[in-house]
Symmetry: C2
Subunit: 404 residues, 2 copies
């Protein structure tokens, strides 16, 4: 008789953002006149920039002619894109990363969910708390955790590293040494950043203990401060302990285009096995490459025009972040994030529970955000707002919240 993967049954309820979408839908149906503004899910609102649109049209045209048609892509990504990434995102920043250490994918969500597959089931996983749900959920599904504790609001067998006001939302090095350490900086959901010196401590800790850091740098384009690293490979020794996940969603608005990549340095060996070769095998067996036209769009992100246009686009969202941060701060809220990240982390007033504040904001201000508790137990009492709305909507949302 067929058995199912019963680890799935440990997952409580549905995916956070599905729950929010359902609540918002119900509210809109009950209040059709309400003008609801979403600063909730991290989806962008600005169109693709002209350089990317042009590259897409050109690639589409190529696909329509036999001489320039492209069938199966190389599993690991086209050379033109891997080279552009290696050069612009790494070598220009002084990081030693080669093109063949870059694995192009259909996005960082897939990669951050799939990367755990190359590790044994007996590894102990550490995550920040609060945290992007995919890291934990995919480890639960794989069987690397215990059961969900309703009381604690998290899973047995996972090392949760609290990110609190007191530590500036950067976790302390855990006392119990984890095998796999998921770090995301600039952080989702808190918008907090890590300095290069702080990150170096993590790299040293991982190297000393033989741990592997899975470093999600999806929001690096939003960094404004000099001492905040764009890549973990800016730290010495990261090539022997870190995998980096990167996305085109937030620096180029590719949420609906789907492109990302993972970096696995060739020096990264554990259990006497090259993680680079394991990921190459995984990628080559369970994935068939990102679309040619999308990889050409990715290449355009690194052209001179693309860079200039995207600097402006990111600047647009950064201005939103500042508007939220300043506005809410003036209104007397305790807010953080937003300086090196597109996320603002808001402390709910009067210790209101996160989901209560969600309902309150939806009903009283018609503004949608994300309850901090949806990201983990230590997110309780907090609330995430994103800078990805339009400027006009962002200003209006802030006005409405101010006037509550």
């Amino acid at each position: 008789m067929v058995t199912v993967n019963r680890n799935y049954l440990k997952l409580p309820g549905s995916y956070l953002f599905s729950t929010i979408a359902k609540k918002v839908k119900a509210y809109k149906e009950a209040n059709p006149q309400a003008k609801v503004i979403s600063l909730g899910i991290g989806d962008v609102t600005q169109p693709l920039v002209p350089a990317v649109i042009e590259a897409l049209h050109k690639a589409v045209e190529e696909m329509g002619h036999a001489e320039t048609f492209h069938g199966y892509a190389p599993d690991l990504g086209y050379e033109f894109l891997r080279t552009a990434i290696a050069k612009n995102d790494y070598q220009h920043r002084g990081c030693h990363i080669e093109a063949d250490e870059i694995f192009v994918s259909d996005g960082a969500k897939s990669d951050s969910g799939n990367i755990q597959e190359i590790f044994g089931l007996d590894n102990k996983v550490a995550v920040c708390d609060p945290v992007y749900p995919v890291y934990v959920d995919t480890n639960v599904m794989a069987g690397r955790t215990g059961d969900y504790s309703q009381e604690r609001g998290n899973f047995d067998g996972v090392i949760y590293m609290p990110c609190k006001e007191e530590n500036g939302f950067v976790p302390e090095l855990p006392k119990e040494v984890p095998d796999l350490i998921y770090l995301c900086f600039p952080n989702n959901p808190t918008g907090g950043a890590i300095t290069k010196d702080q990150l170096q401590e993590w790299v040293d800790y991982a190297n000393k203990n033989g741990s592997v850091i899975i470093y999600d740098a999806a929001y690096e384009a939003y960094i404004t401060q000099d001492n905040v690293p764009h890549s973990i490979y800016e730290c010495e020794g990261a090539r022997t302990c870190a995998i980096e996940l990167r996305s085109f969603s937030k620096n180029a608005g590719f949420t609906g285009v789907r492109l990302g990549f993972t970096v696995v340095p060739k020096e990264l060996v554990r259990d006497n096995v090259s993680l680079h070769s394991l990921w190459a095998r995984r990628h080559g067996t369970k994935f068939n490459g990102a679309p040619y036209i999308v990889q050409r769009a990715g290449e355009a992100v690194y052209s001179d025009e693309g860079k200039a246009q995207l600097k402006e686009q990111v600047g647009y969202y950064q201005r939103n972040a500042k508007a939220i941060l300043d506005g809410l701060s003036q209104a007397g809220f305790t807010v953080s994030g937003g300086v090196n990240a597109p996320y603002i982390w808001l402390k709910t007033p009067d210790k209101m529970a996160s989901w209560d504040f969600f309902d309150y904001l939806l009903e009283k201000a018609n503004v949608v955000g994300t309850p901090g508790s949806g990201f983990g137990a230590h997110g309780e009492g907090f609330f995430r707002l994103t800078a990805f709305g339009t400027y006009e909507n962002t200003l209006e949302a802030i006005e409405r919240i101010k006037n509550l």
Copy 2:
């Protein structure tokens, strides 16, 4: 200390098609004047049809304007595409499949590799032999098999179902009842087809024993005979035992565009759990939707123009298949497949080993095919040719083989 997923280490050598690519590259470098024709990997050569190109350009244009920009897609696929699929691929054929039983993905390779994740590790897997390598490899990687036996050329703990000349390349019902049964018809690599009556026997067998059939129908567009089913849901009772995988790669030339889908009927329950809900959870957690522009391209496949243009494109490849089949048959080779599939299965002359024949053909005729043994032990002594070349190259390759 970090441990790796040691199941990966059971996999012998590299992925079949990487090995072929390396051999061909080496030959070309040593013989730069050779005009090598590939009828090897199942990649298409004809450009995307005009209806698809038009849809792509239109969708790209939408992505360039704020009012029509599309960010994150629904995890499970856009309604417009799921509805078109349900209507055209299923309801028009009399199959009861609803739009919300269709999960849009980035291609059938990903789906056929990922689908095993929703099942327990204790399930016994059955595959045809020879077989598309991804089914077995991904089960090996998950830990659902034993070790690789160099002697037998396959894995312990897997039920291999021989597809031989004697059984017309359709396997017999296995005596040891498997839990998960992978079937691909029209078949890759043999090009063999299964009749509706034969497939009904498998459906009945699965329902009787509580097994699940994972039915890969990637090549259904090539079916020319009336008694050959396009979908397993043409069989009575399939909704309670079968998952179907479908691709846009071969019916619409999307190998470099990346689009596919999986059908999981809501009645499909095992171990008291709905497989539909498990796959929805998997899809929603580890995947973030296919690109908007690609889903619009998929929609165009079902437009009147798209259908007419693609009928012609598939006809082009079918003509190739016939040319290979007739040509090699006249030349005295024993060939099968090609009538309901884009693959021709050739018996090597004089019991030559498959890889020897590969080398022979590459060196003497500069023609690349795929060694049958690369697909499994029972593929030894066979060789796969594909109909996806250009007509001119296909004719020339056949001439060269004839003249050997």
